[in-house]
């Protein structure tokens, strides 16, 4: 493989990872506020379908994204309303919405499968795109990629460097303490669940309008679950999450290359990679064996290793908050 090919592969990994990064950042905002929106897979399917159809009918790709965001926000607001106002299980509502989104997208999108629609225009950023190596990989891409990059930095900055971000983390870590400090915990949870859902919707539309263009039944089934797993792998941090999404994209690209190189190996081996990877990375960041392995290392290595390998969820994740 020559350099130009390598750069092309790396650029495609960045493009493939971008919708995942958007969804991961959205879900991180939601989960850091204390709510689990498990409906990602169904939400993204619905957003991908509606985004594609509206984009095609209006001949306007941005209208597609707007509708995708709206659909994502609606799904998320059902999760928020059900869990915050009605005190129902977030997992139950999220799971039902996952199945419902899948079926709804199949039914409502039945007349729009395998059609040609609008796509996100390619836009190389002047000057930056001419930087050797980095330019073609990161800055000679589509708007979706730049939006994902903006979100990584933006979400990280919002969470860690701003006052509202502190309140957001407070309501996910210690809601009672945050409430005592005057934070309206449940209102914040509504806001970030719906905002996160809108981003997940944009991610779904980014697939059907840019990365995996078009619509067919179950078009991007499974990607929502992968995004949810990446949130855990990424330790609820946007930067680690983005790294996880890129790693996932890289593994897939590698599998494609290997598949071409070794056609005699069954396609099964390559198809199973994402799911094996999902189990393995969750095992790596969660299991007690990792901790034991770290303890066996020299003292000075332990802390850095722990920081890389271990993650812990927001302390109040998934638990309802009652005022007073």
């Amino acid at each position: 493989m020559n350099n130009a090919q390598l750069i092309a592969v790396l650029a495609s990994i960045v493009l493939q990872a971008s919708p995942l990064i958007i969804a991961v950042c959205g879900e991180i905002l939601t989960e850091r506020s204390g709510v689990v929106n498990l409906s990602l897979d169904g939400t993204m399917l619905m957003a991908a379908m509606t985004g594609f159809v509206v984009g095609m009918l209006t001949n306007n790709v941005w209208a597609g994204f707007a509708v995708g965001a709206l659909v994502g926000a609606i799904f998320a607001s059902i999760v928020a309303f059900g869990s915050i106002r009605l005190n129902q299980s977030q997992v139950a509502i999220g799971f039902v919405l996952t199945l419902l989104g899948d079926d709804l997208s199949a039914f409502l999108g039945q007349n729009y499968t395998r059609m040609k629609g609008v796509t996100v225009p390619h836009y190389g950023i002047p000057i930056l795109k001419d930087i050797p190596v980095i330019g073609p990989i990161f800055f000679n891409q589509d708007i979706v990629v730049y939006f994902a990059m903006f979100l990584i930095v933006g979400t990280w900055w919002w969470l860690n460097k701003t006052q509202p971000g502190l309140k957001l983390r407070g309501s996910g870590e210690r809601p009672t303490a945050a409430f005592a400090r005057g934070v309206d915990v449940n209102r914040l949870r509504y806001v970030y669940t719906i905002l996160g859902g809108a981003l997940v919707g944009i991610a779904g539309a980014a697939y059907s309008l840019d990365v995996k263009i078009g619509w067919s039944d179950g078009h991007i089934r499974g990607m929502g679950w992968i995004a949810l797993a990446i949130v855990i792998f990424g330790g609820w941090s946007p930067i680690r999450g983005a790294f996880g999404a890129l790693l996932f994209g890289a593994t897939k690209a590698l599998a494609t290359i290997l598949q071409r190189a070794f056609p005699e190996v069954s396609v099964v081996a390559f198809n199973s990679i994402p799911w094996l990877l999902m189990i393995l990375v969750l095992l790596a960041v969660g299991s007690d064996y990792t901790e034991r392995g770290i303890k066996a290392m020299p003292k000075s290595w332990q802390q850095p290793l722990r920081r890389v390998l271990r993650v812990s969820p927001p302390m109040a994740l998934g638990t309802p908050f009652k005022e007073g």
Partner: protein, 386 residues
């Protein structure tokens, strides 16, 4: 609130459980009209698809059996506070286990069928145990391990169908060669329905009822599901019970998978489960995790799903409509199934005699154990012995 007002409202409370069901029907009708289809015609087609003839109704029964088996198993895992989303994969592994026997062993039916059922239950139980051990030893949430294992099971099926178990005439990627007739469950009137499988499913339902009502193990599972921390204080081993509950469910799901290959089909097919595992999760949620409601709701789901297949054949409308109708019902029951929850009908207790559609608390399985340890809930022994 006075007595008179309470009784004025009691009819509303009594009828309230119908509200989510009617709402789901209205929304589904609206979707149909969006596609210029008359809801009356569509529901009629679905009705005919389920009841329009002996063969149709036998299909409903044949679809009902594996759904019932999977749902009965899920009542056990839900009781233990586990979200066994991996049930789909457990059904598939059961189907693979039964197919392995059917393809590799020859003999009379009375030898083959018990062997197939045994292999199927073992396959499902082991696949479930994998999920359970990943949870107890690896701290991997059972939702994610289950989901990954579902996909791996589908990939494994595709591999078997296109590889080692490929029919001699070539890889069609659709299924294995039909099994020897001795390997199949005896079926009624050349339909897909095997009465024997229904007997097994009812035995499973009774077994689950008995386990949860009359055994110490059932009590331990309830303790684990209601409050892992107090269960721990009472000496319940969460690892042991988690693994056993998952394997129990996996075995029943595996049996369901055997029914799919040995009576619904006659070979291992690409989409052997047909989403029955996920559907079973909905059934159990709608049944509010109570085993006695499971058979009737599972039958209803089977009617809707079979009906929607006929709907697609007759009207060209996508069969996902059945999934939408059942999904909406569960969603609406979760959201406003209980009148009390919405503050209609005043304080709880005014709705005397009317069972809540949903229990007050759902399984606490989604709460990570670290949280349970940090909040130190009080030991509620009475809740456990409920």
């Amino acid at each position: 609130m006075t007595e008179a007002q309470t009784s004025d409202r009691s009819w509303l409370i009594r009828l309230w459980p119908l509200v989510p069901i009617v709402a789901a029907l209205i929304v589904t009708s609206a979707l149909l009209m969006l596609f210029d289809a008359s809801p009356a015609v569509a529901y009629r087609a679905m009705w005919d698809g389920a009841f329009g003839g002996q063969d149709k109704f036998l299909s409903v029964l044949a679809f009902w059996v594996p759904l019932l088996l999977a749902s009965a198993g899920l009542v056990v895992t839900f009781t233990a506070g586990l979200w066994n989303i991996g049930i789909e994969g457990q059904i598939i592994l059961g189907a693979i286990g039964a197919s392995w026997v059917a393809l590799n062993v020859t003999g009379p039916a009375w030898v083959l069928i018990p062997l197939e059922i045994g292999a199927a239950m073992l396959g499902g139980a082991l696949w479930a145990a994998l999920s359970a051990v990943l949870k107890t030893r690896g701290k991997v949430n059972e939702i994610f391990s289950g989901l990954a294992l579902n996909n791996l099971a589908i990939i494994l099926t595709n591999y078997l169908i296109s590889g080692p178990w490929q029919p001699p005439e070539g890889g069609s990627f659709r299924g294995t060669t039909p099994f020897q007739s001795a390997a199949l469950l005896p079926r009624l009137f050349e339909s897909r329905f095997s009465p024997l499988s229904l007997i097994l499913a009812f035995a499973a339902v009774i077994a689950v009822y008995y386990v949860l009502r009359g055994t110490t193990w059932g009590l331990k599972l309830k303790a684990l599901g209601k409050n892992p921390y107090s269960a721990y204080l009472l000496g319940v081993s969460s690892e042991r019970e988690t693994i056993l509950a998952m394997m129990f469910c996996g075995a029943l799901a595996g049996l369901g998978g055997a029914v799919r290959v040995l009576s619904w089909f006659d070979s291992l097919r690409q989409s052997i489960s047909g989403g029955i595992g996920f559907l079973a999760l909905l059934v159990v949620m709608l049944a509010a995790y109570r085993i006695l409601w499971v058979p009737i709701i599972a039958l209803f789901f089977s009617i809707v799903l079979n009906g929607s297949i006929t709907l697609q054949l007759k009207t060209q409308l996508h069969s996902a409509l059945g999934g939408i109708l059942t999904g909406l019902m569960v969603l609406f029951v979760l959201l406003f199934g209980s009148a009390k929850q919405l503050g209609i009908g005043g304080k709880p207790g005014t709705a005397a005699g009317v069972p809540d559609v949903m229990p007050d608390e759902l399984p606490a399985g989604e709460i990570p154990p670290e949280l349970m340890a940090s909040s130190y809930p009080e030991v509620d022994v009475e809740a456990i012995h409920e």
